[in-house]
Structure formats: C-alpha cells, structure tokens
C-alpha cells in the first residue's frame, strides 16, 4: 500500500465515518434519555434513502403507508389509555399529536403524487416522512414497557428492528437503490480525488454535531434532555416529563437518522436491510464513547469508518468480521477504563 492508496482509503473512511457519526450521536442521545438502545436506527437511514429514491423515480414511497399505519396504532393506544383513565379532556391533544401531525407528510406525499417536485423539496419530504417513525415506535413499542429493565428494552429494540426492516422489503422491494447525488463536482486535493458529495457528508456531519451541541448548551429543552439523562428521577421531581423528553429525543434521533440516509443514498447502493449493519457499526463507535460522551462517540465513529475502509482493502470478504471483531478490544478497554456497576435489576423478561 502506498501513500496514494492510503489517502484514498482515508478519505473514503472519513466519509463513511461521518455517516456513522450522525447515527452514533443519535444512538447515544436516545439511549441516555430513554435507556433504550435504539437498534433500528440504521433502518431509519435506509428508509430515508429509499424514500427519496422512490420519490425521485416518481413512485409513492412505502413510508407513506408505514407512517399512516403506525400513527393509527399509536392513536388507538393513546385513546384507549385516556379513556380507561377517564381523562377524556386529553383526547383532542392526542388526536393532534398522533392522528394529525404525523400523517401530514404522508398526506403531502400522496397529494403531490404525479407532480414532479424540485430536488430540494423531494429531500425535505423524504426527511419529513421518516421523522415521525421513531417517536411513533416509541409510543407503540417502548412506552408500555417504561418500567422494564434496559435488557428487556434492548430485546424489544432488536425485535422492532426486525419488524421494520421486514416491512421495508414489503414497501420497497428487494432491489437496491442509489439516489441522485446532491452535487457531481470533483476536487483534486494534492493528488487525492475528493467528490463534492463526500465533502458534503463530512460538512453535514460536522454541522449537525455542532447544532446538537448548541441545542444542549443553549436551549431549555436541550437542558431538560440533559437533565433526564443524568438523573431521571431528579428530572421528574423538577417537573420534566420523561415522556416529553423521550419524544424529543426520538424526534432528534429520527432527524439525524433521516439526514444520514439522505447523505449516504448517493454514495452507496442501499437495500431494505442495509440499515442494520450501518446501525451496528455506528454502535461500535458509540461504545467508544461509553454511550455517554458525544465527542468520543464522534471520534469512535470516524475510527470505525477508517477501519472499515482499510479492512475492505485488505480483505473485502471478511471486512465485516474485522469491523465487528474490533468491538471486542474496544469493549475490554471500556470496561477497564470505566468499570460498570453491578446492575441490581430483579426483573428481566
């Protein structure tokens, strides 16, 4: 391997890593606020890329159906729980949040069928379609188990992943898609070819990380999220409702997942089940940060991207084995760096 190849691999790795950064940040965000290891994160990215691809080819994306069905189930659950509790006054709000807001993007997509939307509008619509998925999944799958242990929540998260990636096959079919690139420009930086798309990915990752930082440091709802993640009971005592911070975390996570899908769409061919591996690799990055530190998580995700890129050069066949095996030394390092407290959880499953 010479410098030339190494630098190509490095650029490639950083671009892949930047995608993982977005997903890894979202994973840490959701985990710290809700204790849920949101395994289906990568699926959100796949959904947004595939949705955009279908919009670009003039088809009605399957996300329209998925979001409508999820919203219907969530609304039903919300209504029955309010009726059972005898709190009819809360029903109009429930209808607004679960019956109207989430189905607006599907409605727009359905109405705009046949008209060719401008490029940026397609991207926005794809993002808007993916945005409600995570909060709705939260309402349907996780909130009824709010008292469960981290382990039960994790098992549910894995099940949710299999459910929505299976549905993705139904909605998008088995073919792979690649979306139109945002820009086709190519730069030559000291002999290394860098495409504008790659640059965009890295810039977007940096921008969203920055925005997330500002959100946590400068806004009251960001601070509420921080408070919930550092001490749930304490946050409740000062009037922060875990359901609300949870929904915000899922919305933000959905945004990060959706954006990363839009960015990765033009660079890689995505299939209905591509999300799982993307999500897991991002998770490897998140573990570097101990599922708590955002900067370390970002660094870890970049490192995973680089490792993957170099591993595929040495042996494209077992690159997945290399990347996932890398988790084990990282985990050992983590457990030495920050010994876990014995979890006293009586209830699992």
């Amino acid at each position: 391997m010479d410098i030339q190849i190494a630098s190509i691999l490095a650029v490639d790795g950083i671009a892949t890593g930047a995608i993982y950064v977005l997903i890894a940040l979202g994973t840490v965000l959701i985990f710290s606020v809700t204790r849920v290891m949101f395994v289906p994160f990568g699926d959100l990215a796949a959904y947004s890329a595939l949705t955009l691809a279908m919009l670009q080819t003039g088809q009605l994306p399957g996300t329209v159906m998925l979001v409508s069905v999820l919203a219907g189930i969530a609304l039903l659950m919300e209504l029955t729980s309010h009726l059972r509790a005898g709190k009819a006054a809360k029903i109009p709000k429930a209808i607004l949040y679960y019956g109207i807001l989430p189905v607006l993007p599907p409605l727009i997509a359905w109405l705009s069928q046949g008209t060719v939307l401008p490029f940026w509008a397609q991207m926005l619509l794809a993002l808007a379609l993916v945005l409600p998925i995570a909060p709705l999944l939260d309402r349907i799958a996780f909130r009824p188990l709010a008292d469960a242990s981290v382990l039960v929540l994790l098992i549910v998260a894995v099940a949710v992943h299999f459910a929505i990636s299976g549905l993705a096959l139904l909605f998008f079919g088995p073919e792979g898609y690649r979306t139109e690139p945002i820009s086709r420009a190519i730069f030559d930086v000291g002999g290394v070819i860098v495409s504008a798309q790659t640059l965009l990915v890295v810039l977007a990752a940096a921008a969203f990380s920055g925005l997330l930082y500002l959100y946590f440091e400068r806004t009251i709802s960001g601070k509420a999220l921080k408070a919930t993640s550092s001490n749930r009971l304490g946050a409740r005592l000062v009037g922060i409702r875990p359901q609300v911070t949870g929904t915000i975390a899922y919305l933000l996570g959905g945004l990060l997942g959706g954006v990363s899908g839009l960015l990765i769409g033009p660079v890689a061919t995505l299939y209905y089940d591509s999300g799982f591996l993307i999500g897991l690799k991002a998770f490897v990055g998140a573990v570097v940060g101990g599922l708590a530190s955002y900067p370390l998580t970002a660094l870890g995700a970049i490192a995973v991207g680089l490792l993957e890129s170099f591993a595929s050069f040495w042996s494209s066949q077992i690159k997945e084995t290399i990347v996932f095996s890398a988790l084990i030394p990282i985990l050992i390092w983590r457990s030495l760096a920050a010994p876990q407290h014995e979890e006293e959880e009586e209830d699992i499953a």
Binding site: A159, V160, A163, L170, I318, T321, I328, L331, A349
Partner: protein, 593 residues
C-alpha cells in the same frame, strides 16, 4: 385461590406423561410432523441454554445461533470433509464451541448491563460472516454430503430414528440443568439476576459463575448444531445468523425464561407458529419469508408487553409450589477453629476513603477483639456505612490498612474477605424474594461447601448438600424462623427479613459478623428479640461489628463503641464513657449553648 390445582402426585408424574407422549408420537404422526418435532427438540436444547443464561443468570445472548453454527460446521467438516466418524465430529463440535465460548466469555463477560448483549450481536455477526467467507467451509454454498449418525451399527438416517436420539438428548439436558439449579452452584446462578452484591458478600465468584453458564449454554448450542448437521445432512451459513439467534431467544422467552420446561414449550410454540405462519403468509403476500420475521418480531414485542414471564407463567398458578423440606443430614459441616478469646481479629489502621473531593472516611483507626460486640455510631453522614463497605471489601480504600485475622485485606475482593470468615448483612435487606428461606440461608453456606459445577450437574454432591441443609435449618432454628423454612423470603415482614439475613450470615460459620443497621424499621418487641439473638451469637464466640442509630439498642448491647463524625473518629470507649462525653453530645445535639 379457587383455580384447579394439580395435586403434587400428578405434578411428579407430569414429566413421565410428557416423555411417554413424545415416545409414541412417531407411531401415529406423519413424516412432516416428525420433522417439525425434530426441529422442536433441537431448538429446545439451545433454548435450555438460554433459559439458564438469560432466565436465571440474567445474561442475554443474541449470538447463540453462532454457537449452533460452530457445532454444525465442526460436525460437517469433520465428517464430510475429513471423513471422520460422527462421534469424532461431536467431540470436535463440543470442544470447539467450548473453546470459542471461553475466549468470548473471557473478553466480554466482565461487561456490565447492555454492553454484554450488544457485544453478543457483534460476535454473532462476525462468526456468521466467517462461515460465509471461508472457502474450505464452502463459503455461501455450505457443506453437502454429511453422513448420518450411526449408533451400534444402526443408521440414524431416517427422521424417526434420529428423533429418538434428539429427544433422549433433550431429556438428558433437562435433567442436567434441573440438577444444576437444585444445587449449591444453582442457587448462586439463580441469584445472579439482581443479587450480584449479595452473592459477592457470601463469597461467590461472580465472574466464574457467569463464565460457567455461558460456556455450558454454548456447549448445549454446539450439541444442537451437531444434531442439526446430521439431521439435515447439508448445512449453509444462513440458519446461523442473528435472525436465528433471535428465534432461539424468542423460544426461551415464550415458554418462560425462568423455567426448564419453558425451553421445550417455547420451542414447540415457536416451531408450530412458524410453520403456521409459513402456511398462511404466502396467501397474503409474495414476500412471505420476510413477513415471517415481522410476525415473529411483533409476537415477541407483544409477549414482552403482556406476558413477560412467558406462557408457563400464565399456567404457574395451577402448579403448586413444592413445600416439603429438603432432606437434611443428622450432622452439619465442620466448623472453623475460632481465634482465642480476646485476640485481635480486625484492625483498621488510618483508613481513608475519598469520593472525588469528598473525604467520606478520614484516617480512622480501631480494632476489634474476638468475642466482642463493637458498635459504630455517629450522626447521619458520618461515614459509618462507607467504613462498613471498606471493611467488607465492597469498596476499595485510598490509604491505610485493614487487617483481618492477621492478614492484610486492605484492597481484597469482597468474596475473599467473605471466605476468610467475615459475613455481613445489609442496611437495605438483600435477599432472594423468590427463593425459600432455606435456600436463602443455604447461600450463606456456599463458602463451606466444595462441590463444583460438574458434580452439581450430575448431583454427585447429595451428601454434602444434605449436611449443608442441616446447617441452614439449624441457623433458621437459631433465629426463630425454623417453622417457616419453606416460605418465600419475599413474603416475610421486614423484621423477619432482617433476622433471615442474620441467619444467612450465621450459616457461613463466620469469625466476624458485620451488621448494617439491623434494628432499622423494627418494632420495640422485635428489637428486644434481636438484642437477645445477638447476645446469643456472641456467646457462641462470634464477634460482631454493628452500625446502628438506635442509641438505646446499642448502649445495652455492645462492649465498646467507636464514634464517627464527619468521617473522622471522634472517640472510642465503653457505652458509659461515650454517654458521658461532651464531644459526642455536641456532635449529636449541636454546640452546647
């Protein structure tokens, strides 16, 4: 409860009824049903490992199918590629899964909480990709031409023949696991989930325990893989991916994660459900195989939301709990030689503990003589409980020295301190609410018994177990709970629970018992009874160190008192001296005006 309840006799017969049913199935069932039953048996063996690992041990594995794969590939490679007989393949399969599990366990089992299950996903995927990419293992095409198993010249190629082998092994595995759970090691395994701190305090090596069940579950999976390879006679990587792992986990959960029968019931449930789904779905969609996984995922979520204990837990009320006392020997276990009365057993020398900037315990020294009751008192936040945790090894010290029975135990592990003869109770009672009183006390006897994992599996330790039971029953008698030996600890009132903790400590035959606020939350009468009990323990030659808030209780009981205030030792003396000390009065009541 008015629900019909099975009589104990019917309950004892139940396994035999099930066994007889399974034995006659091939007589009337068609070939397809037999094939399904074979899958159920193989699934049950894997799920049984998960019941032990997840249901009892609290360790979730999303990678179990990878172990099945290692077993299957080892069998296929040994027979189809190398031409060895199937039983050589079995030896290779079991040895290889055990070796891989040992390596993975050594690297990942120290991880807490969610890290472990997620790491199982990672290595599960890594192993799957290895199968799919190693050319000598046939890569994505797999290995064909695996010969059938032959037993005494009899070929097990027909489905009905291997059926009996599979279910014989299922029965064998269930027997081993039920032996294990009803043994010294089994009680520790049943406490792993949620009882880690307590287990360490009675001298159990948690890491070893987790490793043993992890490797055992992997070996069961490897055995299932061997059967799988020889049943299908052809293998490819896809049955060993993460999806399959989820399916095994679903089996364990669906039946009842904390029940041996749950593995078989869950496996049957999943296999039949899967078969039914495969019949139905093609009528609904052309992507039936994908919808299958959706149906599974949704049923797993519903199961966790509505019946977290699995199907068998719904039937649980019909099966009565066994309340007959376990057999006990006439004599208990040999005692330790107690140190001579008045000799030093514990010396705390200039011990300091910091939490960040806060000095919780500052340069504290005291000692304790054999046969003595020493009280540790001080206002809230004085550092009593921290000092306690330092002495018992639950926390490490920053500087100073702790000497127990002449040995430096400054930063020894909790379990080693427990083994040296220190038993403790907890301020917030740590018992196993779902276990009987005898079983809870038997946990205290753990360090006095030796039977290892293998002996427990085969129940070769019954004599020792009977003697341990004698010790436990005597300890229960000593604290006045002898009549409730088979009740569940969780049903006792708090006062009795505290006393039960003391019985568990006594059963360990300790040199020193440390009690963390034993009188907290007790009524007057209970406190008096406790004082009498502690005096009786002292009379047996056991020393006691106790932290307590209740001054009346302490003053009438202890020989000497150490007073702590703001992490430092204020004074030390007899109860009368402490009562008379102006410094102590000031610490408790504020400055004298």
């Amino acid at each position: 409860m008015s629900a019909p309840v099975l009589s104990p006799r019917v309950k004892r017969l139940l396994p035999w009824i099930v066994a007889a049913f399974i034995a006659v199935v091939p007589i009337f069932a068609g070939a397809f049903t037999i094939t399904l039953m074979n899958y159920i048996g193989i699934g049950a063996i894997v799920a049984l490992g998960l019941v032990l690992l997840t249901g009892f041990g609290g360790l979730t594995s999303f990678g179990q199918a990878a172990f099945v794969g290692i077993g299957a590939y080892a069998a296929a490679w040994a027979t189809a590629v190398m031409g060895l007989p199937p039983f050589a393949g079995l030896a290779l399969a079991l040895a290889l899964t055990a070796a891989v599990a040992l390596f993975l366990g050594a690297t990942t089992l120290r991880l807490g909480g969610h890290y472990l299950p997620l790491s199982t996903i990672a290595w599960g995927i890594a192993i799957y990709y290895l199968f799919a990419n190693i050319p000598s293992l046939g890569a994505h095409d797999g290995i064909r031409g695996i010969p059938p198993i032959t037993v005494f010249g009899l070929s097990l190629a027909p489905n009905t023949s291997i059926y009996y082998l599979i279910f014989a092994l299922v029965a064998e595995a269930m027997w081993l696991v039920s032996n294990l759970l009803d043994s010294r090691e089994g009680r520790a395994i049943r406490s792993l989930r949620g009882g880690a701190t307590m287990l360490a305090s009675v001298g159990v090596d948690l890491f070893r325990m987790r490793m043993l069940i992890f490797v055992f579950a992997a070996v069961l999976a490897g055995l299932a893989g061997w059967l799988y390879a020889h049943m299908l006679r052809f293998i490819s990587p896809s049955p060993f991916d993460v999806r399959a792992s989820i399916e095994y986990l679903l089996m364990a959960m669906a039946g009842g994660a904390a029940s041996i029968w749950g593995a078989l019931v869950g496996s049957a449930l999943v296999v039949f459900l899967k078969n039914w789904v495969q019949d139905i779905l093609p009528h609904l969609s052309k992507n039936a195989t994908q919808l299958e996984i959706v149906a599974f995922a949704v049923s797993l979520i519903l199961l966790l939301q509505y019946a977290r204990g699995g199907v068998l837990s719904l039937l649980g009320t019909f099966v009565p709990r066994d309340t007959t006392l376990p057999p006990a020997a006439a004599t208990g276990l040999p005692h330790r030689t107690p140190p001579a009365k008045g000799s030093e057993i514990l010396r705390v020398e200039g011990v300091t503990k910091r939490f960040g900037g806060l000095v919780a315990v500052n340069n504290v020294s005291f000692d304790l003589q054999a046969g003595e009751i020493l009280g540790l008192i001080g206002p809230n936040g004085a550092g009593k409980s921290t000092l306690f945790n330092l002495v018992s090894g639950a926390l490490g010290i920053n500087s100073g020295k702790i000497v127990f029975l002449g040995e430096d135990m400054s930063n020894a592990r909790q379990m080693d301190i427990a083994r040296a003869g220190l038993a403790r109770t907890f301020q917030h009672v740590k018992l196993r609410p779902g276990m009987t009183l005898v079983d809870n006390v038997l946990l205290g006897v753990y360090i006095r018994t030796q039977a290892g994992f293998g002996k427990c599996l085969l129940h070769l330790e019954r004599e020792e177990e009977r003697r341990a039971t004698r010790v436990a029953l005597d300890a229960l008698d000593a604290v006045g709970l002898g009549g409730k030996a088979m009740e569940l600890a969780g049903n006792l009132p708090l006062g009795n629970q505290r006393v039960l903790e003391i019985a568990r400590a006594l059963a360990a035959d300790p040199i020193l018992i440390v009690l963390d606020e034993p009188a907290a939350g007790l009524r007057k009468g209970e406190k008096d009874a406790l004082a009498v009990l502690l005096k009786a323990i002292q009379a047996r030659g056991v020393s006691i160190l106790l932290v307590e808030h209740d001054m009346d209780f302490v003053m009438g009981l202890v020989d000497r008192i150490v007073v702590l205030d703001f992490g430092s030792k204020l004074m030390e003396g007899t109860p009368a001296e402490v009562r008379a000390s102006p410094a102590v009065q000031e610490a408790y009541l504020g400055g004298v005006a």
